[in-house]
Symmetry: C2
Subunit: 304 residues, 2 copies
């Protein structure tokens, strides 16, 4: 089953305790598609500037990613710069230059309008709605958002939330969106807004899947070394939806497995700068890491 992602392609400048990179390939659509394409055919809708390297598009094509929906327009590509603190507890944005991304008006090629699985990465909720208006009855729609839209475009966000199957957000965003300061209660409020499923991402602390009467946790992989967590959330979403596409199923059991798949690819993402570690992945590496994750959890039974 095929996937389509609508989001950003960017050049990132990132400084972490492990080193720094400048003008490294980034953006939500890039991270997502590098992960999802491991598991299912993926098309990208994004915009880049004249300065975008053809070699970087070629990296996506080499993974079988369909880039016909990536438009190249006059101007510079979206750039972001950030720095992580000593223990990766906080991230400071050093600069954000939207450039060509400021005028992004996603257009879905006619041949891709029937794609069954849609990922609306973190863009303005109105653009997310415009994408859905162009799609032809998708089977499963997932959406990512951020505090910026919860604070600045809440009405538009709530409109589009009515039309999605699953929302990915982090814990702070869940508190802000729901007005509830506890995870389970926040989830209950958000599920009333429309999505049937909610994934609350907590970075190195794992992720929760919530649905009606459902609360399931998947811990993160304990890593020996983190290089750069940038893009881990989009990589998680890529592994998650890639798994659903691979299984061609959207039931609870498939979603729980998708949580695991997302966790595994996101853990790899953190081990390299940019998309480097995700690009180097193959299915065997995911299998190996799954065994490592499973071995990390203590048996939760008590023999009295």
């Amino acid at each position: 089953m095929n996937l389509i992602v609508v989001g950003s392609m960017a050049y990132d400048s990132v400084e972490t305790p492990a080193g720094k990179v400048d003008r490294a390939l980034g953006g939500s659509a890039t991270f997502f598609s590098m992960a999802s394409s491991l598991l299912a055919p993926t098309a990208v809708i994004a915009v880049v500037g004249e300065d975008f390297d053809e070699a970087d598009l070629e990296r996506l094509r080499a993974r079988g990613i369909d880039v016909q929906g990536v438009s190249r327009v006059a101007g510079r590509t979206f750039r972001w710069g950030g720095r992580y603190s000593r223990y990766f507890e906080t991230r400071e944005s050093l600069f954000t230059e939207l450039n060509v991304f400021a005028d992004f008006k996603p257009v879905i090629p006619a041949s891709q309008r029937a794609t069954p699985i849609v990922f609306l990465a973190n863009i303005h909720p109105t653009l997310q709605r415009d994408v859905l208006d162009q799609m032809d009855a998708p089977r499963f729609v997932a959406l990512d958002t951020m505090n910026f839209w919860i604070g600045g475009a809440l009405a538009e966000l709530r409109e589009v939330l009515k039309r999605v199957d699953l929302l990915f957000i982090n814990d702070e965003e869940a508190f802000e969106l729901s007005g509830v300061g506890m995870l389970a209660g926040a989830a209950a409020e958000i599920l009333k807004m429309g999505p049937r499923w909610l994934v609350i991402k907590r970075g190195e602390h794992g992720a929760f899947l919530f649905g009606e009467g459902v609360a399931r946790y998947v811990p993160a992989v304990l890593l020996e070394r983190i290089v750069d967590p940038t893009g881990a959330g989009d990589t998680f979403a890529g592994g998650f939806l890639g798994w659903l596409a691979h299984k061609e199923r959207f039931d609870q059991a498939a979603l729980e497995e998708a949580m695991v798949a997302g966790t595994l690819v996101a853990s790899h993402c953190c081990e390299g700068f940019s998309v480097d570690a995700v690009e180097a992945l193959d299915v065997e590496a995911i299998r190996v890491r799954q065994r490592r994750l499973a071995a990390q959890i203590a048996d939760l039974t008590l023999s009295w």
Copy 2:
């Protein structure tokens, strides 16, 4: 098998998003013993002032806790005041009055010197050492500490660490003590300092057990509501060591189960102010919560 704990008994004034209490029974030895006594006979070594209510001592006795090592001296009982932020992310200490605790010189009654399991709660490392000097070849010694001693009494702390089987600390303390900013790496450094086992507590994000070639994670219980997390760390230690005492075993499998037991009682602790929720616990409640914890974790296998 019996346990002994050396730590504080206090009156706490706590304000949380769920409400506030004043002069509520607290202190590391109180929380620990209320939890451990569910599973094994426990003796407390602590000091209280003239103002300490006999009724509060009676609450411990009612749980079968041996309080002959609680000395009452002239002056006021240790008092602490704190306030939690909106989502319990941070805690601010409003006041700390050591009072009689400032001159605490733990003396172990002769009849308790052969107690096989010892918990040295968070007190000056020199006092922790003095306690060990009074004990008669304990089978298992666990120690808790905090940033204050890592920063201010590191040499003394490192001396006593050589004599303990297990150290309980939180993640930030582990980073500070080891000088390493990643959990696994920090654990490896700390294990070189003497303890055979290390438990890194991460509050609502669960806890890790580390040992030679061992890294095992137990997630926290997802709570609908938190009332007051004060004392959860000592309650965890109480459940943990109580379990070892109950099983009379100190091997890896017993320690992994102890992680689960500690997690379960600590989750209850957070659901009430002071020791109220732990005091109300019975073994059946722990069994019920164990099933809830197990059901909360997604199956981590992937069926390709």
